[in-house]
């Protein structure tokens, strides 16, 4: 072996041995490890350069003796070829013992082997296993030279023949990425597509087969087997989708085929079939209308629109049916498991609660002084001098589903139970105000007050419950008393049907149009799916659109997007009873570790939205300058900045403190740097928490994400709970939020407790505003809740629906007045 080879061997050994020479200290310090590696590379480069400088300038001739020694190349078959260092194979003639040499990639022009092989001259090679050992091979001795990319294609072909399509795909993907100009690739790819499609059809995977054949038709529309195979795939796929009721998707398959192979017979076959079916449906719709079965007609006409939207006169027919039976389909992503129109943190419950359980007093939006309210049940009158609140029931108030009326006795008992310390409905701000309750007449209740609150109606937000149910303390049996009733027998786990409540109170304005006869909520796993259904006409409204998906609706002409009137406040509520989140330094550390601006921008799809901003406290900051909603927010308090290095140091300090606290309390001390972050099952929360997880990971904390429905108590071991809170009447809602989420009050900051206690006694709005801003300051200092951002939400609906134009706080706020506009 020559001196150059010996030197390379020595260097190779040195290179291998280098990692073993690291001391224990360098292994412990990752930064030093990086430095060492860089230094080692530097040394290697210098030594290597010198070594190459000593290599012979001219390659040696390859003698038969040498070729005999090298004729058994070692190729690793356990690792895919594309994961191995590239090499070429050289096949020599009999004079060289038919040797096969494994070479480092031969530097041919454009990596193309000259065809036919030259008869004179030499090929310079470098042996793969002996880097730097270069030889000259006369072209005459060469029988074949196989390049690495050809070897890859050969292996892919072999895998295709063995029907190992996933592995073959990886080879083809690698070749397409790294050697796009290799000859023979198109043939192998077509072979792959046709063979995989054939196999998929046999296995019933018609969707995959269709996708392969579509690609094949782009590559080679004249492939002899394409037409028959794609016909089979389309027939199977369309039949499957049709059977599932995915009419638009089925039509989409045929539309795709018509673009690729316009003359394919399957296109005409299916179109003919659908037209026939549409004609039959139209006939049934007209028959149902004639029989007065408008509900059935509505269902049929919706199906008709999906089956064949090009049916002549369809728009006219739809308008006719809608006139007879106004039915709205709403796409949702958060079902309301426990309907409650007054829910603070559960979007779904708040939405569907408005349909079936109307609140005694409803919040309709921010006003110049606190919120604005309305009630379908009562009128209220405050006598500040006598310190009384008179509640008169409306004669036209809604009735319960069983036809029972809500009486003054029900109201009095309900109000009394909200003031009773041991009752589950106990509401401390109400108990503080109330001195006595008496039924003045069957329609009137008088509440004697200890002091006059600024907004007494804000304290009356609850769902009417009959006294008999209150007395039996069956809290979960809140009866339905809303404009709609849930038709349980027609509902499923993904669809909820609400029918108009015949007992609901008649509107005082008799000339107003009759609202929806039926509302159907359809749950979609992703907002994107709901939007697709909206564009396709499957649903009329989508109740919540993710801000980053708004561009999907930008070009949809028949869809209108509106913002909700008040934003939600997004917070992390710490589990104060646990040592780590109970530590103030830890909470601060975790907040410093969240780049809230960046996450917010990501949620907004990189665009700015008015009303969306990072916040420093638990209150909404308002959507514009001077927005009365932001009266509780102290704009002087700036949100804490993103400081990962500070977060890292603080979290370490807090971790040690928490371990000591846990030992003192007799709890198991936190062993690992892991936190559990619970969040509602919705995409916005999911995405935000995923990004928080990433950012906390950067400071060395592992985050376990847990989905928890907000209508249920959070999992017991959670550390932080992500909530989207509707803090619309800060004076009352912040108390409701803390009462609901921080059950163990001993861990609540006494300053926050003191500030909360002072809110009810505010004599005027400026005083209340100042006290709320003081509370903001205390919450900011203590991080009782970790403020993230406020986010404006959006809803989208198909144009032609009246009643949804005005911004609202909740989707069904004026559901009784919705109607379809005549065409």
């Amino acid at each position: 072996m020559d001196s150059a080879s010996q030197e390379m061997d020595r260097l190779g050994k040195q290179h291998i041995d280098l990692p073993n020479q690291r001391t224990a200290d360098t292994r412990r310090l990752p930064r030093c490890h990086g430095l060492c590696r860089t230094a080692c590379l530097l040394v290697l480069c210098i030594l290597g350069r010198d070594a190459f400088a000593e290599a012979p300038q001219q390659p040696s001739p390859l003698t038969p003796q040498i070729s005999k020694q090298l004729s058994e190349p070692s190729i690793d078959t356990s690792t895919p070829l594309y994961e191995q260092p590239p090499f070429d194979l050289l096949y020599l003639n009999a004079a060289n013992n038919n040797a096969v040499l494994k070479l480092s990639p031969v530097p041919l022009p454009d990596r193309k082997v000259p065809q036919p092989l030259p008869r004179s001259g030499y090929l310079e090679i470098e042996l793969f296993d002996r880097p730097g050992e270069r030889y000259r091979v006369p072209w005459q001795a060469v029988v074949q030279l196989k390049l690495f990319e050809q070897l890859l294609l050969e292996q892919a072909t072999k895998l295709i023949q063995e029907k190992r399509f996933d592995e073959a795909y990886d080879y083809l993907d690698y070749v397409a990425t790294h050697y796009p100009n290799v000859s023979g690739f198109a043939e192998v790819e077509q072979l792959f597509l046709i063979e995989e499609a054939r196999a998929a059809l046999v296995q019933g995977q018609s969707e995959r087969a269709f996708a392969d054949l579509c690609r094949l038709s782009e590559l080679n529309p004249n492939h002899p087997e394409l037409s028959s195979l794609i016909g089979q795939a389309v027939d199977t796929l369309v039949a499957q989708r049709w059977q599932k009721g995915e009419y638009a998707a089925a039509r989409g398959v045929v539309e795709t085929l018509s673009k690729l192979l316009p003359q394919h017979p399957a296109i005409e076959k299916w179109r003919q079939q659908w037209q026939t079916e549409a004609a039959e449906l139209e006939k049934q719709v007209r028959q149902a209308l004639a029989e007065g079965n408008a509900r059935q007609a509505d269902r049929l006409v919706r199906k008709l629109r999906q089956v064949w939207p090009q049916q002549p006169g369809l728009d006219q027919l739809i308008a006719e049916v809608r006139q007879a039976y106004p039915r709205f389909q709403v796409g949702i992503t958060q079902p309301g498991a426990r309907p409650d129109p007054t829910s603070l943190i559960d979007w779904g419950s708040r939405r569907c609660g408005q349909l079936i359980r109307k609140a005694l007093v409803e919040y309709t939006g921010p006003g110049p002084e606190g919120g604005e309210y309305r009630s379908a049940f009562l009128r209220w009158q405050l006598d500040a001098e006598k310190q009384t609140l008179t509640l008169r029931l409306r004669p036209e108030r809604p009735r319960f589903a069983d036809g029972r009326s809500y009486t003054a006795y029900d109201l009095a008992q309900q109000l009394a139970s909200r003031a009773a310390r041991h009752h589950e409905a106990y509401f401390p701000p109400w108990a503080e105000v109330v001195a006595g309750i008496r039924v003045f007449s069957p329609e009137e209740v008088i509440v004697n007050l200890r002091f006059v609150p600024l907004k007494p109606e804000a304290l009356l937000q609850c769902v009417p419950v009959p006294a008999v149910i209150l007395a039996s303390s069956a809290g979960n049996r809140s009866p339905d008393v809303g404009p709609f009733l849930l038709a349980a027998e027609e509902s499923s786990s993904s669809r909820w049907v609400f029918l108009r409540n015949s007992h609901a109170g008649t509107s005082s304005d008799q000339t107003s149009p009759v609202g929806p006869a039926e509302i159907e909520e359809i749950a979609f796993p992703r907002c994107r799916d709901a939007l697709r259904a909206l564009r396709g006409g499957e649903v009329d409204i989508v109740d919540r659109v993710n801000p980053w998906e708004l561009p999907l609706l930008a070009e949809a002409r028949d869809v209108t997007v509106q913002t909700y009137r008040v934003p939600l406040v997004h917070l992390l509520v710490p589990n104060l009873s646990k040592p780590l989140p109970g530590n103030r330094d830890f909470r601060r550390a975790m907040l410093y570790a969240i780049d809230r601006d960046r996450i917010l921008q990501s949620l907004l799809g990189g665009k700015r939205q008015p009303g969306c901003q990072v916040i420093s406290g638990p209150f909404p900051a308002g959507t514009s300058f001077g927005d009365p909603l932001g009266y509780a927010y102290d704009a002087q308090i700036k949100p804490r900045e993103y400081q990962p290095s500070l977060a890292l140091a603080l979290s370490e300090i807090a971790f040690r403190q928490a371990q000591e606290v846990a030992r003192k309390r007799g709890l198991p001390p936190p062993e690992s740097r892991e936190v559990v972050l619970a969040h509602p099952p919705h995409e916005i929360a999911r995405e935000a928490c995923r990004q928080i997880q990433e950012q906390w990971r950067l400071i060395g904390w592992t985050v376990k994400l847990v989905e928890a429905s907000p209508d249920r108590p959070p999992p017991p071991d959670y550390d932080f709970l992500y909530v989207e809170a509707a803090i619309w009447e800060p004076e009352v809602d912040v108390i409701r939020l803390i009462t609901r989420l921080i059950s163990e009050r001993q861990y609540l900051s006494p300053q926050v407790e003191l500030a909360l206690a002072g809110l009810g006694h505010s004599a005027d709005w400026p005083t209340l505003g100042q006290r709320l801003r003081d509370l903001h300051r205390w919450v900011y200092d203590d991080l009782t809740v970790v403020p993230l951002w406020q986010l404006v939400d959006f809803y989208a609906y198909r144009s032609g629906i009246k009643g949804l134009e005005e911004p609202r706080v909740s989707l069904y706020q004026n559901v009784e007045t919705w109607q379809f506009a005549p065409n």
Partner: protein
Amino acid sequence: MALSRQFCKSDEPSRNPATPITWWRPSGKHLPDPVGVRRQIKLAFYVSTGHMMRRQPIEKTRLLREALIAAAAIAWLGAFPVVYGQSFFTLVPCRLNVICLLPPEIATSTGLEQEFCRQLGERLASEQGPAWRVSVAPPSAEDRAILRAALRRDLPFDPPTSWRKVALRDKVVVLAVKRTGLGWHVVSRDWDVRVERLGPLVEHTAPTWSGVLAAAAETVRRAVVPVAQIRLVEQQAVRLDLQGSLLMEERSPLPRRQFLALARYEDRDGNARAVVPLPWTILQSPEGPPAEDGSVSCQIISGLKNPLSARRRGRVQLLAWAVTPRSRSVVLSLRNRQDSQKPLVGYEVLAQPDGEGSPQFLGRTDFAGQVEIPTEDPPGWKLLWVKHGRRVLAKVPLVDGSTEFTELALPDDDPRLLAEGYVMSVQDQLVDLVTLRSVLIARLRARIAAGDWEQAIRLRDQLLQLKSREVFSSELTQQQQRLFCPDPVGQKQIDKMFEETRRLVNLYLNPREVEELVKEIAMKAPRRTDTP
């Protein structure tokens, strides 16, 4: 003389022989009680107390005679080598008037009623021996009017004047027998004349009439609440002289009990002008038999500093009345000491059952300054802690279910709490600042060492932008001037907190290190040529 000094200690030397006389051994050392001496003491007191009970109204001649007898007794006892630190109270039998209310069918039959009363009296007398002097009688017309209120927990009770005369009796026990579907229901309650308090309601059932007598006797025995005179021994310990304890046939072990301490203010005739419980004070007796002198040693548990040693005007007796813990929750109210109408809201209440272990959180006072105190199982007593922020405002004992004290007046601590919150916030800022400063300094040193002057200057600028010690101190001073606490203790704590924070600021925000780095950069960093 030690004896006269001890007499004077009870506020005023009593000229009323009814006032218990405390006897003290001159050396103050207790010695074992020989049986003979004990018998002689008993004999002497039978004579004196029997006389005392017969006198009414008190006359000057009688007073003189009683004083002479007392002097003779002292002289006689002084002849013995041992004189005991005990009161006569342990030798005074309890005079018990049992008012027996029987069902109408029995009460109408005079003979039966009388017979029942006689038998009950005999039974009680035989059971209790000389410790009780029992008389059992049907209710008088005057008594009947108030018996109903006496036997109900929820009705206000105002006894007739005769029930308040200590010269007539020590206790009135109301006993009622009713027929129920399952037999006979016997209920009894004790009215103590000295402490003017109703004891707990004691109930018993008997399936047949033949068992009613035994049940009635048992009910009466259980209804009687022990009363004792308090003897101050040490700062935190007293001895209780239980009434008639030396007259008991045998010294049976007593359970661990809690006593309420009361001050009885008397007029010249020995009748109570007022009986005032010592607030938030209980006396805890250990389990076991009383001492040889009939007294029980007790630990004082109180929210006050020196509850028993306070100077009181007039004729005052310090009495102890046993409290029975009950399984019911109590609502505790916290009021502002300066403004009693103002509730103290948001104050933490914690409890240590039996005054041991770590305090457990019970709740925070609501808008009315109230918090519910649950009972333990089995009921006992607990030491309540009232906390506000980091300050412990009070530690008071509470016997489970006792409604004797439910309102606690405390200083308004809100201004101090706000100051505490502010100081905590400043300390948090300080922690953040010091941490960030350390990180920046470390990075700056690394950049200087690497000769990366551009980055070093950038980091130096960041360091110089951080809040300085002077700014911190100035803010602290301004805020301290704004905060005022009317409670001097609270104000003192506020000042202390600010001082401590100022010390931390000075300690951790030393500008020297930054100044040195700035100098080093100024010396070593290459000067920019493009700057004018």
